[in-house]
């Protein structure tokens, strides 16, 4: 077994580290998140120059065909740097396009623009009633003429306001009313964000990112804008959500590592009762427990990334749900303890630690919280049989 990253992966990480250290420090980031746009065109241009937008795109479309493990490396660094640019949303959209292309969708032009950094994407999936079940889709798509008409509202679409194109999930009009949460009848569309009938209302989220509510009022779409039909829609949605969850695990790992290091540093410098507070056993044990959480989360984030290549979707779902559950647990423990150990400073907006805490709490709420993934893990075939095979494969 080889747990090492290859030289290209290490280069990506180094390049990101250098850029973040130079141009995306805490004050620079603060200026970005409090700016009108909330994101930085210059930062986006740099991400594109560094090859990050091309990384997940296939070579045939001008990219580098990066694997989920390649993306793990990138997302971990972006997590360490608390980067708020619409990168994850775009990469998730690109994964929809990639899988859609496999199912026959003409994605070449869109993917080339993503690879070149010219097109940002957002994935409009969640609705008010969905909570963490993104198969709970009330948005309707009715066949009309040669195309489709969609109506509905998507909530908290990450970077929905910044995107040039949207990936939208909808339920085929013919489906029965009781089928709202079923896997059959899921359609996926791609459309420009400025399509008539689309209303985008952007806002900030408390972790420094941007999101939007997006209404679709009788939006007319052509047949060519159907990314995945009923036959392919559910599988593509499922696989892409797993891909996204795996990437969020990597981002969370990076954020936890940075937060852990900052807390350790604080414990070694902050003096109380005539000694660094790290000399007190109560705090040492807290840090030791945080370290154990970090190691376990690290292991599972890696497993999720590796298992994205699994041919058996059950194997993939099992690993991803286990990872997101475990990473969520660690994110909450490490985040809360780090704030506690920083004392009064930890609850101020001045401190980077507080911002890591906020991002970790937000990640818990994205693409499935702990209860959601635990239930999904239990629901996988084989859970009850007692057959536990070696996890490494």
């Amino acid at each position: 077994m080889d747990f090492n990253f290859n030289p290209e992966q290490l280069q990506f990480a180094d390049a990101l580290k250098r850029w973040i250290g130079r141009d995306y420090g805490f004050e620079a980031r603060r200026a970005i998140i409090h700016s009108q746009a909330g994101v930085s065109d210059a930062a986006w241009a740099t991400l594109a120059e560094l090859g990050m937008t091309a990384l997940p795109v296939a070579e045939a479309h001008g990219g580098f065909s990066g694997s989920a493990v390649d993306m793990f490396v990138v997302m971990r660094e972006l997590g360490r740097g608390l980067v708020v640019e619409p990168y994850f949303a775009t990469v998730l959209g690109a994964e929809f396009l990639r899988l859609g292309a496999q199912a026959g969708f003409a994605a070449a032009e869109l993917l080339e623009r993503v690879a070149g950094g010219e097109l940002k994407l957002a994935c409009a999936l969640g609705e008010r009633q969905s909570r963490h079940d993104l198969f709970d889709i009330a948005t309707r798509a009715q066949a009309s003429g040669d195309g489709w008409t969609i109506s509905g509202e998507k909530k908290v679409v990450i970077h929905g306001f910044e995107a040039g194109a949207l990936i939208v999930s909808a339920r085929a009009g013919g489906s029965e009313g009781g089928g709202q949460r079923e896997h059959g009848g899921v359609l996926l569309f791609v459309l420009p964000a400025d399509t008539p009938g689309v209303t985008v209302t952007g806002y900030r989220t408390l972790d420094g990112q941007r999101a939007a509510d997006i209404r679709f009022d009788g939006v007319q779409l052509t047949r060519a804008q159907l990314l995945a039909d009923e036959a392919a829609g559910a599988d593509i949605l499922d696989a892409t959500l797993d891909y996204g969850a795996a990437l969020l695990c990597a981002e969370a790992l990076g954020a936890m590592e940075a937060l852990f290091e900052a807390t350790l540093d604080y414990l070694k410098t902050r003096q109380q009762f005539g000694a660094p507070i790290g000399k007190f056993q109560a705090l040492q044990h807290r840090m030791a427990d945080m370290f154990v959480h970090l190691e376990q989360a690290h292991s599972m984030a890696l497993l999720a990334a590796v298992k994205m290549a699994a041919t058996d979707p059950v194997e993939r779902r099992r690993a991803v749900s286990a990872a997101k559950y475990r990473v969520n647990q660690a994110a909450r423990f490490v985040g809360q303890q780090a704030v506690q150990l920083h004392g009064g400073m930890g609850v101020t907006d001045e401190l980077p630690a507080a911002h890591y805490f906020k991002r970790l709490a937000a990640i818990e709420l994205q693409l499935g919280d702990s209860d959601h993934h635990l239930a999904r893990f239990i629901a996988q075939p084989g859970f009850a049989t007692g057959v536990v095979e070696a996890e490494a494969a």
């Binding site: 350790l264 044990h285 475990r326 239930a375 070696a390």
Partner: protein, 400 residues
């Protein structure tokens, strides 16, 4: 990154499985799987089967009779043994005193003791802990004073050891003894090999909360020990003790055994009913089970990450594995009891000891589980309590 086992490792796993299928006696396997208590004869029997195959000391160098396996092969072997449900090889001889003798012992000690450890000629026990010492091992008070007479140089040993696992069976004990009281407490300690049949040694049982006789107090009253039984140099014993403590890096996690136990809990939960449905379909129980399974997956991956690191020396990462490994073992023992509910209450020592074929109430799988749960409270206390492991993590890894 490549998380696949190599073809050689996969072939090795098949070889180990085939061996266990053929050679692990069914009665021993059943005892282990049902959480019954193993006798000395049970342990020795399995030891000799492995020894005949040359597999009883996976960590030993080839020159001393080890099989020459890689760290990954050792991991696979341990995992397969645990999964099959073999008795555990007693670690005191093979894994504890033997590495110390190999590294620091005299040629005569190597020539005499190592083959006897392989063949299970001697049953060893460990004389580290003393009353009141707890995890502060270096505070030990048992003394060894050097003398000489016509029969040669010898030490006269006086004092008391405690928590001595299975000393009632032992032929030999390796002891930390105080040979100099005038120096820092770590510096006056020596490492002695003592014949348990020597005059002046008394073994007194300590009965644990599950009413099992697993540990003992050992008293030394003017016990004469030949000076040739000193390992290495006088007053250097603390160095050897630390070498021993850090020798095992990943086995301490006991992932294989916990996997078997997890499968066992699932079997129970599929069989038990709650409100007319299989317990495993109860959302509350399933959630506890699933979160534990995920924790175990994470521990296994962490073990594999440690194994893959080129540095084969023991490291403080063992502390992470000890804390999580034992917490998972304890949580599994809790879930087993919860799974069978009141059927865990009947206590039947005769069944536990293998003197009766079936338990009093006839639920043979359920009856030992409460004793097992009580017994496993020890795991977060022995081998350096989990609090001590947290001290090691914070000080050795985090630099606090």
């Amino acid at each position: 990154m490549d998380l696949n086992y190599s073809n050689e490792d996969l072939a090795f796993r098949i070889e180990v499985r085939a061996f266990l299928d053929a050679e692990l006696p069914a009665d021993l396997q059943q005892k282990v799987r049902k959480h019954l208590r193993l006798s000395k004869e049970d342990s020795v029997r399995w030891h000799k089967i492995l020894a005949a195959k040359g597999w009883v000391a996976p960590g030993w160098p080839v020159e001393f009779g080890g099989p020459g396996w890689t760290a990954t092969q050792r991991h696979i072997f341990e995992e397969e043994c645990a999964r099959a449900g073999t008795p555990q090889i007693m670690p005191f001889g093979v894994n504890m005193v033997a590495p110390v003798i190999m590294a620091f012992g005299s040629q005569a000690q190597k020539d005499y003791y190592l083959p006897r450890i392989l063949s299970c000629e001697d049953w060893w026990c460990q004389g580290y802990s003393e009353p009141g010492a707890g995890s502060d091992l270096a505070s030990l008070k048992t003394t060894a004073v050097r003398h000489a007479d016509a029969d040669g140089d010898y030490y006269l040993v006086n004092g008391q050891k405690t928590w001595t696992t299975l000393a009632q069976h032992a032929d030999m004990i390796f002891c930390l003894v105080r040979t100099d009281t005038g120096v820092r407490k770590q510096e006056g300690i020596s490492f002695l090999l003592i014949d348990m049949h020597s005059p002046g040694i008394t073994v007194r049982p300590i009965i644990m909360l599950d009413e099992d006789h697993e540990v003992n107090e050992v008293f030394f009253d003017n016990v004469r020990v030949p000076a040739s039984n000193l390992v290495g140099q006088e007053n250097r014993g603390w160095t050897y003790a630390k070498y021993l403590l850090g020798h095992e890096r990943t086995g301490i996690a006991a992932v294989g055994r916990s996997k078997r136990e997890l499968a066992f809990v699932k079997t129970l939960a599929a069989r038990e009913n709650k409100s007319g449905l299989p317990l495993i379909e109860d959302p509350l129980f399933a959630a506890k089970l699933a979160s534990l399974e995920i924790e175990l997956m994470a521990l296994e991956m962490t073990v594999l990450r440690v194994l893959a690191r080129p540095n084969q020396a023991p490291g403080p990462e063992a502390s992470v594995l000890k804390v999580r490994g034992t917490e998972i073992q304890q949580a599994l023992s809790e879930l087993m009891v919860e799974a069978v509910g009141p059927m865990a209450l009947p206590f039947d020592p005769a069944y536990l000891e293998g003197e009766r074929e079936h338990s009093l109430v006839g639920d043979d799988e359920a009856a030992p589980l409460l004793a097992h749960y009580f017994n496993y409270r020890k795991t977060s206390i022995y081998g350096g309590s989990n609090e001590i492991q947290r001290n090691i993590i914070s000080q050795m890894i985090l630099g606090l």
